[in-house]
């Protein structure tokens, strides 16, 4: 197994990726308006469910102990709940944000005055 010991060079590269992703995240996310903070939370949550790829390998590979396979299996379930659920509910929320729907509905309801 090639990855058991951290090659310091790979660790450094990983830290670079981490630092740059943190910086990028800070730049982008501080520009998200408060209006969309709830969808933002569910969207980033769906994204971090990418740990499903680790879980998939864990559940499918030849493990030394079968307990690892079962743990991987449960991890696949809980991560894919977040993948599917996260993207669907984010879209469901974003669909509701409309610039102006008032004009039409007001015409209908306004007749009552």
């Amino acid at each position: 197994m090639e990855k058991l010991v951290f090659d310091p060079r790979i660790l450094m590269a990983s830290l670079y990726v981490f630092a740059l992703a943190a910086f990028l995240g800070y730049q982008i996310i501080s520009r998200v308006p408060p209006l969309l903070h709830t969808p933002l939370m569910s969207a980033t949550n769906a994204l971090s469910a990418i740990s499903v790829v680790g879980a998939i390998v864990m559940a499918g590979r030849e493990n030394h102990h079968s307990i690892s396979t079962y743990l991987g299996f449960i991890a696949v379930i809980s991560a894919s709940i977040n993948v599917v659920g996260g993207f669907l509910i984010t879209d469901r929320m974003l669909k509701m944000f409309k610039r102006d729907v008032r004009v039409k509905t007001a015409d209908k309801k306004g007749n009552s005055k």
């Binding site: 010991v5 933002l40 949550n45 499918g60 991890a75 659920g85 669907l88």
Partner: protein, 456 residues
């Protein structure tokens, strides 16, 4: 690792960043998330071709079960339960990260390098404490666990001790990765710590807690990326982690409190006798009076709070706003950042009720407008409009930015009863001469107001 899979992961990372960039504006948000979803699908499909995979049945069954549960939750969960769903999804995300870590340790245990086990330790600690912490947060939001702070004498010291032992076993494990006892001690203590961290936090501080848990679950995924040597995990996890971090900072700023104060202050548990001076009489108003006021106003500002969510009054509010607009009244909504139980909670509820986002104003935008406002209607909000935060330096919430409804020409407060709000603070707004109190369930009050406005 396979170079093609690496290229797919790279593409997925780029699509994720574009997806988040889409969220900077409501018009581009859906398209952005579509890109991100495409990236996710590509990453999952690519992973299925991973050379180490020998058996597929657990993968298919897992994806199927998870997919069905996730789809069912997102289709049938009402929008009012958004905070609960989010808390649950933090729990699932953290659980996945923690389980992958435990499986990795079970598999290789002592043969892992020290640095590798160090990364693994972060993954396990963050994953486990976020898992139990999010479940408690879910319990508080759902009403299974008491919403008020649960605390006991010496809790903070106990927590510190627990934390110290947890970090101690982490260091020991990094020193000698083969000591499984250290690993499982660390895991168990992290599970306990998650519970103890969230239990003493009051329901009104939930926006901060949700953001923090969001951050931790992201960082747990990023730590998984370090352990597995997988960059797309590091990137997506870090984006999630920083998003949660930024949101917690914004929420804390909106309450003028530090994160430490939120986590360890057990706000709302003590009675603040210093601020408990009765300031006069509350003036009760009738539905008809308010209806006339609203109908002949030039500008009306609604300020919603968690009370609107519990009463499910958002659709009734929309109907009333439509009626007023049809009469030529300019209607606006003033949204405080910490109104509700999670960041952006009020915006989602109002959007669900078809209120266009062009009339939803942030606190800083609406405050200069309030002196020109004829009627400000407070719907189930309390602390976020408490003028003591501005005027009384001795108040526990002194310095917290508020929506200054008391600057409006007249204020109507919709409230369930005469009792104090969640924080137990007296709100001088209710005693001001400009303020009229309209008691009752927010939804029936608003529906009644709409009826009365029609008859004006």
């Amino acid at each position: 690792m396979n170079i093609y899979i690496e290229i797919i992961y790279l593409a997925a990372s780029i699509l994720f960043v574009f997806g988040l960039k889409g969220l900077t504006h409501p018009d581009s948000a859906r398209r952005g998330m579509l890109l991100a979803a495409a990236g996710m699908t590509a990453a999952i499909v690519g992973t299925l071709f991973h050379p180490e995979i020998v058996r597929y049945h657990w993968i298919w069954i897992g994806l199927l079960i998870g997919g069905v549960i996730g789809a069912a939750m997102s289709i049938w969960m009402p929008m009012t339960s958004m905070p609960e769903r989010t808390a649950l999804s933090h729990a699932f995300g953290a659980l996945a990260a923690a389980l992958v870590g435990i499986a990795e340790y079970e598999n290789y245990g002592g043969s892992m390098g020290k640095l590798k086990v160090g990364a693994l330790g972060f993954e396990i600690m963050l994953g486990c404490l976020t898992f139990t912490g999010s479940l408690i947060a879910f319990g508080k939001l759902y009403g299974v666990v008491k919403g008020t702070p649960i605390t006991f004498k010496g809790l903070n010291i106990f927590n510190m001790g627990l934390l110290a032992v947890m970090i101690g076993s982490f260091i020991y494990l990094a020193y000698d990765p083969s000591v499984a006892v250290a690993f499982y001690t660390m895991m168990t203590l992290a599970l306990c710590f998650g519970v103890l961290l969230v239990i003493p936090i009051g329901a009104a501080d939930m926006p901060v807690v949700m953001s923090l848990l969001n951050s931790y679950s992201g960082l747990a995924a990023a730590a998984t990326g370090f352990v597995l040597g997988n960059n797309v995990l590091i990137i997506a996890g870090t984006l999630d982690g920083f998003s949660g971090f930024i949101l917690s900072v914004l929420m804390c700023r909106a309450m003028n409190r530090s994160i430490n104060n939120v986590l360890f202050g057990a706000f709302g548990s003590v009675s603040h006798t210093a601020a408990d001076t009765a300031i006069g009489n509350m003036r009760e108003v009738t539905l008809e009076d308010v209806a006339v006021q609203l109908a002949y106003a030039k500008q009306v500002v609604f300020v919603p709070g968690y009370g609107m969510a519990t009463a499910q009054a958002q659709h009734a509010v929309r109907d009333l706003a439509n009626l007023l607009e049809a009469r030529g009244v300019s209607v606006k909504f003033g949204i405080h950042p910490v109104a509700g139980r999670m960041p952006g909670h009020m915006n989602v509820l109002l959007a669900e009720a078809n209120v266009p986002y062009s009339v939803l104003y942030e606190m800083d935008q609406i405050n200069p407008d309030l002196p020109r406002t004829d009627v400000a209607v407070v719907i189930g909000a309390n602390d976020v409009v408490n003028p003591d935060a501005r005027d009384n330096p001795g108040s526990p919430i002194a310095g917290m930015p508020i929506i200054e409804v008391d600057r409006a020409k007249s204020v109507v407060v919709l409230k369930r009863g005469t009792g104090k709000g969640f924080s137990g603070l007296e709100n001088p707004l209710f005693f001001k001469p400009v303020t009229g109190m309209l008691y009752g369930d927010a939804k029936s009050s608003i529906t009644g107001l709409a009826q009365a406005v029609r008859e004006v």
